[in-house]
């Protein structure tokens, strides 16, 4: 990895950058490097029963010493350690994430509060059902809301994330076809799809057949007609597509599939463009997953937890994962474990309950007015598109919904690519947009502001992008060697993959502590 020249201060933090300023932040090493025997950060209340003799109780499995290498630090060191680390992160609470397909919207704090309530956070999944009616009511109401939003007939809240939701959806499809005598062999997936789609299809035991998008980036419906054979179990569609464009012919696509006995699966990652405006169930979708950590505001937390409920039409209901929530007499709710045709469980217990609580809190806060969020999301995306058209190449010009995809074709002429522009955007105080996805747009810049961005934040983003485009023309090296203002510069990913160091070890030689 070649060393890049450090450019003078004046060139890296220009007065064009309005959103961010350099600021000193604290260095911090690994917690193991602060460890010293005898320090404690947490004390337990004294033992109120006779002390067991572990050697006697456990025999040869007894571990005499504590876990070797475990940190020994004080409470303040723990607070400082993690607080300092946190200050090295960008976050929604700091500003926009224009990440396409991620829907990085505001994570309401009341959601965190209610998820932590005594009586919500404290419940055990095996406690008596009579003592869990509160939990069941939450699940039941969330189910009803998601059905209303999606226009479907049944839903499972069990999958832990979108990818698991996709798997569940495909397993439902498989079970349905098996019940009809033939599981079929293939799943059709557009080349613009998210990577989880083909990965999931394979895990579900299907072959993947890619369909190339047509010239407008949409599914090629005429080609589809030929591709749908009796071997095809389903088509996995994302709508709007990963280009942010509504698949106008989706009802026709559904008909083509249904005519051959195949089903339409919808990846619901882009639901933020549809909620309250239209319903996938009405469009002909048979089964879909939702990403609660996208559309429904549950926090990303650095990579999860999420939840990926799957909503489906009646025909797939018998195959739902168990347990199933049912209404009994007098408003009582119960979880039933037995369903003869169920695909089984995809996860222990009842799904990511704490995440489901947060999603319900979000829906309750909006109520029927949730349409406004969708409208603002689409408004923001189009506003940004309007101001960046002509500055960046727009490969597909059909109307955008909640996200817009540009390419780096114009900037490539000076050797500046989407990754470089993204890194320079960091100096302007933003998190990068999604780079290099979808695969059908070489050098893609995928931008989704969400409804959480004010006009001011959108304008700052537009200014930043325009400024970087100008830099790419006049001073490409500045962009190519970005970011300049972060704690660390670009990191050696090649070295990390060639000689992986995946844990701290006591004798490992250390470079200077971070900073």
């Amino acid at each position: 990895m070649a060393r890049r020249a450090r450019l003078p201060q004046t060139e890296t933090m220009t007065d064009k950058i309005k959103k961010a300023t350099r600021h000193t932040n604290q260095n911090e090493g690994l917690i193991f490097e602060k460890s010293s025997p005898g320090k404690r950060a947490f004390e337990l209340p004294p033992l109120d029963v006779p002390a067991a003799d572990p050697a006697k109780a456990l025999g040869p499995v007894h571990r005499r010493e504590g876990v070797e290498g475990f940190p020994e630090v004080s409470e303040i060191e723990v607070i400082r350690h993690f607080t300092r680390l946190s200050t090295w992160n960008y976050a929604i609470d700091l500003g926009m994430y224009p990440l396409g397909s991620c829907t990085m919207k505001y994570n309401p704090r009341v959601n965190e509060f209610v998820a932590r309530l005594d009586g919500i956070a404290t419940e055990h999944p095996y406690q008596p059902q009579e003592l869990s009616q509160g939990c069941f009511k939450i699940l039941h109401l969330l189910e009803k809301c998601l059905l209303e939003i999606t226009g479907m007939d049944a839903v499972t809240l069990q999958p832990a994330a979108g990818a698991q939701g996709e798997l569940t959806g495909l397993l439902l499809i498989r079970a349905y076809h098996e019940k009809n005598g033939n599981p079929r062999k293939k799943v059709l997936i557009p080349d613009s799809a998210h990577g989880t789609n083909p990965a999931t299809a394979v895990i579900a035991g299907y072959e993947v057949e890619n369909i190339k998008s047509e010239s407008h980036g949409q599914i090629d419906v005429d080609k589809l007609r030929d591709l749908v054979t009796p071997d095809v179990a389903a088509l996995m569609i994302t709508n709007p597509s990963t280009l942010g464009i509504f698949e106008e012919r989706i009802p026709e696509i559904a008909e083509i599939l249904h005519a051959k006995g195949a089903l339409l699966y919808m990846d619901g990652a882009n639901m933020n463009a549809l909620t309250g405006i239209t319903r996938p169930g009405d469009l002909g979708v048979d089964v879909m997953h939702l990403n609660l950590h996208k559309t429904f505001s549950t926090p990303h937390g650095g990579g999860g937890p999420g939840a990926g409920p799957v909503a489906m039409k009646k025909i797939l209901e018998p195959f739902r994962p168990v347990p199933i929530l049912v209404e009994k007499e007098a408003g009582r709710l119960a979880l039933e474990q037995i369903r003869p045709d169920s695909i089984g469980r995809v996860k222990a217990f009842s799904g990511n309950f704490g995440v489901l609580v947060r999603a319900l809190a979000y829906i309750l806060a909006y109520g029927p007015g949730v349409r406004q969020a969708t409208e603002d999301a689409v408004l923001n995306a189009n506003y940004i598109r309007k101001h960046l058209e002509g500055v960046f190449d727009l490969p597909y010009s059909l109307p955008s919904m909640h996200e817009v995809v540009f390419s780096d074709a114009l900037q490539k002429k000076n050797g500046v690519n989407t990754m470089d522009i993204a890194k320079r955007l960091i100096d302007y105080g933003f998190h990068p947009y999604t780079t290099a996805f979808p695969l059908i747009v070489p050098g893609a810049l995928m931008i989704e502001p969400t409804e959480s961005e004010s006009r001011e934040e959108c304008d700052l983003f537009i200014d930043a992008m325009r400024s970087i485009a100008a830099e790419a023309a006049a001073n490409p090296d500045l962009v190519k060697s970005a970011p300049h203002t972060t704690r660390v510069r670009r990191l050696d990913e090649v070295g990390a993959a060639r000689k992986p160091i995946l844990r701290w070890k006591p004798q490992a030689s250390r470079t200077e502590a971070a900073g």
Binding site: R40, A41, V49, P50, A52, A57, L58, V61, R63, G66, E68, F70, E72, V78, T83, N89, A91, I92, D93, L94, M104, G119, T122, E123, H124, Y126, P128, E130, S132, G134, I149, Q164, T196, A199, R279, H300, G302, G303, P305, V346, G354, V355, A365, G367, V370, D376, L379, N382, Y383, A422, I426, T486, V488, L491, D492, E493, A496, P500, L502, A514
Partner: protein
């Protein structure tokens, strides 16, 4: 609406800037007949106070005021308030997956520390940044063994958590795996003779849980030897990680699948938790899930990045080791903070308290006429007792005394008709253990 930072005037301005007359223009690509004319029929809108009131009302309909003796894969442990103080920081809570390493060093370093702690706990060489939970981690560990050995038979202990076995079955159906159960012997440990008999050189993995679902601790070294002699891999599942504070780690296992809920995560009616896969360095390229690796930047500073990403779905697509994308990062962070707070001594002490309380509880229960200890083997904080009558009926009595009784083993093990799985942790006060024993005695004295 309080989450939307726009005034009506601003919306108008922005529409004008776009050249649209109304917001409906921006939805023109949706065919007319599919556009909703009416608002969705959803409850709300609720103010913040009303949202809180709604959930408080639900909380009041749950198990408040009861003392629980349930474990069975989800455990009540002490949690420091410091953990929430950290994970509630917006920079952790609302941050994205650390694909842009320069502005996510906080998350990445914390993941690196998590991976280290998991290795130290399990005695393995490398650990990932989390899976959804213990049940999917166990399943993914089995799929990993399948890839590594090229074999498709899996022998699973019947004493592996019933729901873990269910999840494995769901995934196995579609991946050509043949899963067979190996029973348990009279003392509750894995039936080694049955294992020997079933092991041929077409077995990819042997899956064992320790402490197992009955609370019984398995002896792994002989199981590992037997497993390895046929070229299979040993997968050790752990549902109660606190046990590692006072027990030797499963270093003989080739792959460890652990549930980290016991490390600072509230029971939360079953989720979100965090699973971990830990294994040998030589297997790392077949390991699913994210990995944070140490590296340097262009100026020689230490930093961290997500690495070996080519295993994952966003690059490998249909050839990926797993389809996992979003994992349980914030839960793993909570576990990292929690374990750092506990530290070496704290975890050992917590484990010792669990051991002591469970020993005490068993002694108290064995004093009751009719109560019999079921499996004569070492245990940690859960043990199985056999009662002279239906556990369900006994639990109904206990419930009237505001006690949530032990797990009814007959629910998932039909042959264990009158058996109950009792869990006691450091959070169970002595007075409650004694109250439970007294109530159980009275329950057994009730006329049939």
């Amino acid at each position: 609406m309080r989450y939307l930072p726009k005034s009506p005037a601003e919306r108008q301005d922005m529409l004008a800037a776009i050249g649209a007359k109304s917001i409906d223009d921006l939805f023109s690509t949706i065919p007319e007949r599919y556009r909703l004319r009416e608002a969705l029929n959803l409850p709300g809108p609720l103010s913040e106070t009303e949202v809180i009131d709604y959930f408080k009302a639900r909380a009041a309909e749950n198990s408040g005021g009861y003392t629980s003796f349930l474990g069975a894969g989800v455990y009540n442990h002490l949690r420091s308030v410091v953990t929430d103080a950290i994970i509630q920081r917006g920079e952790f809570l609302t941050s994205y997956t650390p694909y842009q390493a320069e502005i996510t060093q906080g998350t990445l370093q914390a993941i690196f520390e998590f991976q280290t702690l998991m290795c130290q706990l399990t005695g393995q060489e490398v650990a990932n940044a989390s899976m959804y939970d213990g049940s999917t981690a166990t399943t993914e560990a089995v799929l990993m063994a399948e890839r590594l050995t090229g074999r498709s038979r899996v022998l699973v202990a019947r004493s592996l958590h019933p729901e873990y076995r269910d999840v494995l079955k769901t995934y196995a159906k579609n991946s050509g795996l043949h899963v067979e159960e190996i029973g348990y012997s009279a003392n509750g440990t894995l039936d080694q003779k049955a294992l020997q008999a079933a092991l041929k050189n077409d077995v990819a993995a042997v899956v064992v849980q320790s402490p197992n679902f009955f609370g019984v601790i398995e002896s792994l070294p002989p199981l590992a030897d037997t497993t390895h002699s046929s070229g299979a891999l040993l997968v050790a599942a752990i549902t109660e990680g606190v046990s590692l504070g006072v027990m030797r780690p499963p270093a003989e296992a080739d792959i460890v699948a652990m549930e980290a809920q016991s490390f600072g995560l509230a029971p939360s009616y079953g989720g979100p938790f965090a699973g971990v896969i830990a294994s040998r360095d030589k297997f790392v390229r077949q390991m699913p899930g994210r990995l944070a690796g140490q590296t340097t930047d262009s100026e020689g500073r230490r930093g961290f990045v997500l690495t070996l990403a080519t295993r994952e779905q966003h690059i490998r697509r249909e050839k990926a080791t797993s389809n996992i994308c979003t994992n349980q990062a914030l839960c793993a962070l909570a576990a990292t903070v929690h374990l750092t707070l506990l530290g070496k001594e704290g975890l050992r002490e917590m484990a010792h308290q669990n051991l002591s309380k469970a020993q005490f509880a068993l002694a108290e229960l064995e004093k009751i006429r009719g109560v019999r200890r079921a499996f004569d083997a070492p245990f940690f904080n859960e043990f199985t007792i056999e009662l002279p009558r239906s556990v369900k009926i006994v639990n109904a009595y206990l419930q009237r005394e505001k006690i949530i009784g032990p797990y009814v083993l007959g629910t998932t093990y039909p042959e264990l008709t009158k058996h109950a799985l009792v869990c006691v942790t450091e959070t169970t006060p002595r007075a409650e253990i004694e109250r439970f024993a007294a109530a159980l005695r009275r329950a057994l004295e009730q006329p049939l």
